[in-house]
Point group: C3
Chain length 416, copies 3
């Protein structure tokens, strides 16, 4: 019993010994055939050169495949409008024209207002351009109908259109209707000199990098006053995010007086393109401006909104309806950061090396198809083995004979 | 001296000549063993077929691995609510129920209001449901305590709960408290027919592609009026972003009258899925709607907020507190674009080709383990070399003998 | 004719038969050389071990390369401020200090107000600190000039600075100017106990996963009341998003009373890091807080905005200008989800396997350069073929002779 056990132990020891001997002793490397042929050599090196150049220049230098990247940083925007304008007899300052006052990433300047004064709840004539609003008798007006484009719900009567001679359907609404009673204000063209301060801080959570677009210049300016007085300039003042509205309109290729008339939404795009392998000073924000509402040729452009001021006189409620046209600035932050990282580097390097292997596939195909007409190379490259049914006659002879045999029925030639 | 110099130069020239001759002349290609065995051949081709099919179909066609992609486009949203409703004796239009009026990516419609009229600063009884608010004597009320859930700070006295018989702690607050004096308004169920116009323009900065979700139909409509009158329809009017509130509630599987009662936040998801290799007309926005506040079974759902109107009568300030329930629409834009690019294509192609190499590993393992029982193949595949200690007797004989030797102690069989 | 046709058909059949026979019958595998050398074996296995360890541990376990990931989920935020404070003789509740009332992802609390009462349109003296505002005669003041930092447009006159003895230029503006007539209010330090409820629901569209950061505890609490009473605690109450303002300031390492004085923008970062291969309970939001406005040492920090209340007395319009300092909370949601997916797994696996091939390159280089001094291995590894110009004498002799020839001018030694 103890002897049998001893035998098993010894056998196991031998097995493990053999296994680890084989494991640590032997090294496997593919056998190569070296073809001494000038044509093939030049093709091989040329293909190799192309592949290596492609990877070095395009993938590594241009596409920065060795970097881990992060897009869409966390972003916080604070905006503040500045400037005063004389409009008629009035002085307007920020409080009057900037909305909303809280200063988030969307800020609008009111440039033109259309007032409809003293509207009261009641019934009056629908605007004549609304579909089916023109009428001659009450029968033309369906009671209770409310056109989506219209101003209210029809009462079913056909009445005179204000102080005109024709008639339209009567509606229940705030009277008089806006389209009829509107009073236009001249646009606030002086707003071209208003400035908007846009403070933007971003954070790349993966890289733990924080950046702010406003800095004090290191020049002789009084620090405290620099950011209050400066204007953005791409080279001279890249960290001064004060923009004149006129500058913004100009950069967006829009006519400011046209914008005053129709209003418009302009995107302020802040782009952070940070290569964190370089000095932080290379991670500078760039700004671009583009109009975001519909294209001009389509008619329905512009930006406006309505609000009302309510009054109460002796229990009767009235309101002044304001349709305000303005420039809305949407601050849209876009950024990306790249930093050297081992995982993408290794994946790219291994891909590059493997791609060099493509050279062998191409050159093998050229060699076997065009150069190796009398199958000298293919005989040497491909060692054909036909398994013998008998197990013992596997001798030196069969080895040499199979080696010397023709390798003629190779179907595809190129090993995948 | 000049002769020695000449010799060195000649030697260097020869060395460089040899080096470049070797570099340009020789081409290395792995030697292959071709096994003529039907079983192995079928397995090999089957595995190859599977791998190639997988890459062709799944990676290239389904996952579009040949494309560079960009997600999260820059987005700008403009919303505008439309519609009029008769509510009791009043007419309501946009100005009254849409908040905020500026039309950003969050817009809410007020559907129901709860008024607490004529609140004044002072002291009054705390609501009886607030923790520890019920009392019998002043000793039950701790002066200065302010419950998070309560309405104000306790004065330390125990007083009668308005015109009821029981007592609660007195608090300093705006009196009377909201919970007691609230007046409910009927909900604005007519809002089901209000429409919201959602204009969204996106920009993929990497691809420099700009898209807008609102276009004029090419049909016979008057261009100017089309966007004012149309309603969204997935197939007929995909570029008309006018949505009825009833349609939105329906798509979000919510009951509109229930929403009127509790309010709610509904996400309007605009999804842009753009394959830029195809015609731009394939890059159409799709819309989905989902309720975003807590689930119904949890009780605390809904959307409401409070605001107040302040009055001043003879120096005494009073306010009307409004608790407004409504539907808040959060427009959330989501997009991705893909375009053919060489870098991902090459990485995927090389991966695919390398993966085909897995076939060899699998088939080698099958061959060496199951088929090659008498080691015919392994002898030919693996050429074992045992380095001779003496350096000169490396002859033809030793070469052939080592070639013919058994390759029996190969530990793992499959080369990595 | 029919015979010729028959011949062609037969030829085609034979060709296809041969092709498919070759295709299905043969299996190609690279020939390997097994070197029995302890040094090489140990180096080979050590390099293999390093590469495999690197991929297993770093790429697969640490970087989760087997997962498909999605960042930047769709997010919707609802915020609600709570708390009452006694400020002087007044009671303040949410309605008075929280702006905007609608509860989006940006919410601010007003902590201190500076009032400039009873401003009217007119002319008055410019502030003495504005550039070039000090004057002695009218000639010092340029009519029509408007300094960006100043309060209005100069009339061209030089007048007494309010009830002081010196003079400054007269400007047309709302008078008196803010800097002169401002009345400061004590800050609302009690706001340290206000709470803000931040409900955030996110959606990963690729994985169709929806998560909400507010849940009812499964403990004995009354469900309805839990979310109203709880405070956030990382471990005890991770799903209770109620934060005290004091807690937020503390986490952002800011002094609350300092914040009350200057105002400030604090980012509330909600981070969702979801491994969807695990149980949903692992996908818990974490919160971090960081101040977002400029750094303290730069002076110009803080958050404030201005608004005005307008009054009309006997046709003369006046306003009370309010400069409000406060804490603005920007809720910034950041998330990523990962889930097992075959494409990245296969790409990583294939990369890993190919990387193991680097071992062969390294070991080949070591073998051929350092170990194989008498070219035993290189002779066996590299089978040099020099193509004979005559096509027929390719015999066993030439084969053996070329095999036995020295492989001495191998230029680079390491095959790529």
């Amino acid at each position: 019993m103890s002897e049998a056990f001893h035998t098993i132990i010894m056998g196991l020891r031998d097995f493990l010994k053999d296994y680890f001997d084989g494991f640590w002793d032997s090294y496997e490397t593919p056998k190569m055939m070296v073809v001494k042929n000038k044509t093939l050599g030049v093709i091989y090196r040329a293909v190799q050169f192309l592949v290596i150049t492609y990877f070095t220049w395009y993938v590594f230098i241009s596409q920065k495949a060795y970097q881990e990247s992060e897009t869409h940083p966390e972003s916080s925007v604070y905006t503040c409008m500045k400037g005063t304008a004389i409009h008629g007899d009035d002085i307007l300052d920020t409080v009057e024209y900037a909305r909303p006052s809280e200063g988030g990433d969307v800020i609008s300047t009111l440039l033109r207002r259309e007032y409809t004064y003293d509207q009261k709840q009641g019934t009056c004539a629908e605007h004549f351009e609304v579909a089916n609003a023109n009428c001659t008798t009450d029968a033309d007006c369906v009671q209770g109908e409310a056109d989506l484009e219209g101003n209210g719900r029809r009462t079913g009567r056909c009445i005179q259109y204000y102080n005109h001679t024709f008639k339209t359907c009567e509606i229940q609404t705030w009277c008089p209707i806006e389209a009829f009673a509107v009073v236009q204000e001249p646009p606030l063209v002086e707003a071209i000199n208003f400035t908007v301060f846009i403070r933007n801080s971003i954070h790349f959570p993966k890289f733990k990098v924080l950046r702010v677009n406003a800095k004090y210049a290191s020049k002789g300016h009084k620090k405290h006053k620099y950011l209050k007085k400066c204007h953005y300039h791409e080279e001279k003042d890249p960290y001064c995010p004060n923009f004149r509205l006129g500058y913004i309109a100009n950069q967006a290729r829009e006519n400011f007086s046209e914008l005053c008339r129709t209003g418009g939404v302009i995107g302020v795009f802040i782009n952070w393109d940070c290569n964190l392998d370089l000095d932080p000073s290379h991670c500078k924000p760039t700004y671009s401006f583009r109009r975001l509402d519909l294209r001009k040729d389509l008619g329905n452009t512009g930006y406006y909104y309505r609000f009302a001021k309510y009054y109460s006189n002796d229990g009767v409620e009235s309101r002044t309806l304001v349709k305000a046209y303005g420039i809305r600035l949407d601050v849209i932050v876009h950024g990306q950061a790249g930093k050297f990282s081992t995982v993408p580097t290794i994946i790219s390097l291994v891909t590059a090396m493997t791609s060099v292997g493509i050279c062998t596939i191409i050159c093998d195909w050229i060699m076997l198809t065009f150069i190796d007409r009398n199958e000298v190379y293919s005989e040497r490259k491909f060692d054909e083995v036909i398994k013998e049914p008998t197990e013992t006659i596997q001798t030196e002879v069969s080895f040499i004979s199979s080696y010397g045999s023709n390798h003629s029925d190779l179907s595809d030639g190129v090993p995948l």
